[in-house]
Symmetry: C2
Subunit: 309 residues, 2 copies
Amino acid sequence: MTYSIAIHGGAGLTCPEDLGQEREELAREALAKALNAGNKILSAGGSAMDACIAAVAIMEDDPRFNAGRGSVLAADGTVRMDASVMDGATREAGAVCGISTVRYAAELARKIMKRTPHVMLYGEDALAFAKDENMILESENWFITPYRTEQLEEAKSANCIILDHEKASKGRPKGTVGAVACDQFGNVAAATSTGGLCNKRPGRVGDSAIIGAGTYADNKTCAVSATGHGELFIRSHVAGRLSDLIEMKGLDVVQAAKHIVFSELDEDVGGLIAVDSNGQITLPFNTGGMFRGWQIANEKPVVAVWRNE
Amino acid sequence: MTYSIAIHGGAGLTCPEDLGQEREELAREALAKALNAGNKILSAGGSAMDACIAAVAIMEDDPRFNAGRGSVLAADGTVRMDASVMDGATREAGAVCGISTVRYAAELARKIMKRTPHVMLYGEDALAFAKDENMILESENWFITPYRTEQLEEAKSANCIILDHEKASKGRPKGTVGAVACDQFGNVAAATSTGGLCNKRPGRVGDSAIIGAGTYADNKTCAVSATGHGELFIRSHVAGRLSDLIEMKGLDVVQAAKHIVFSELDEDVGGLIAVDSNGQITLPFNTGGMFRGWQIANEKPVVAVWRNE
């Protein structure tokens, strides 16, 4: 059985000049590290879900990605994170929105899946649950980097509410982090985690918290984690739709993902990563670049950022 | 052009004996009133969205339905409502979760759709937005009825967390309210509103707040509002899946809804109402009963509760 993993660190990129060489190199290193963490679990016979959570946790800790530490700031200067996970073997799912101070939001989503009868919790009550579960908490300031503070100020002075990729925080990595994996048993899983949109209205919930929009997994079809303009992804229920395209139209995961990203979504809005239960991977995006990486069994891992890589 | 409307007031029913004659009659009256409110708008050339909001508002105000006043109580004794709307003409959507004191939650979801760049807001921040928009607020106590207080006590003493339809508040109307409509211009819309599950963990978000799970609308396919065991409906992204079945498999709205409710969902978990842009209506459910009603243009309105009506 082939096992494989794919990860993304957001698709909000325009061109190398805007990103800057140093940030690009640091992001590539972090992607390689995340990929390695996930692959190690898979190669040892671990579960797709464990691999996804491990890869996402590395990116959540890395201040260069918009998730966990280094999340973008809402209009009120706070960090409010969204995350979700889904297990393709059982179609169990967990999700959280508006969570603060929890270091690993995707892991919290998994705990909601496993330890409550519910799929999704929000805000303060989700935090109370995280505390009951003894999850790792950090101070609110621990999450906030000078880079994100500056970015919020810039967005505020341009009076741009985040949705405009060109104006808001131009060329700066934003978006989401996510992972999808297929383990040695042919089970697939997906995890997505994000700080959302810079200068968003506090209380906004994005697609990363929505099962069927930002995250979906079903062994019969695929596991998928999306990144991009969350509102559009919710309205098109992108992740569930990808699964439906495979199941109902008989497309394979590569064809179906390509169709959604290049024929259905507006241009320059984002991308997704997906894997099926044969370990087949795809990572299409329609922006200037998407932080991404993948590894198939013990083949060489690949990290990429721009279109023609 | 035929216009039509369908409504539901929840599918959490077992049998007439459990519901009681008085509650059944009062519910039937309220359904007729809601149907009339929606139909009046449609017959005057109003929009499907306006008709849905008007019909839902009547049920939100009626203490017999689990939405607005008379919402079931969370484990901490509070009312926390979820709602969402979607417009099939534009595929714009709005959603809110964990909202308190706002009298008309579905109308709030519409305001989020129309007056913010976002699809979904949660909790206190959604409330702040509602206040900015001068929406009608009521005290927390205004929402709470003796019936729901008793129901929570019963659920607590039985230590049943809500998901078990048989044990939790046996035979008592629960669930959701919702409406779907097709207007004279062939535009469809859907609205869903609920207090969620009795004795739920505070902070739980159900399918009624999730675009693609409890609510979806697309003129190309249908408008749908679901009711039932929310966690299952999220995991199967029921509303989006219905739309996909019509689009991708070429089924009509009646066939597609029947397939989901009777061949895909577990038994005794709920139902849905749906309409396509020809005004074709369907209202399948797999529980003992679903409060429901429908009216096609100036034909006689129909109200029904049990299976064989």
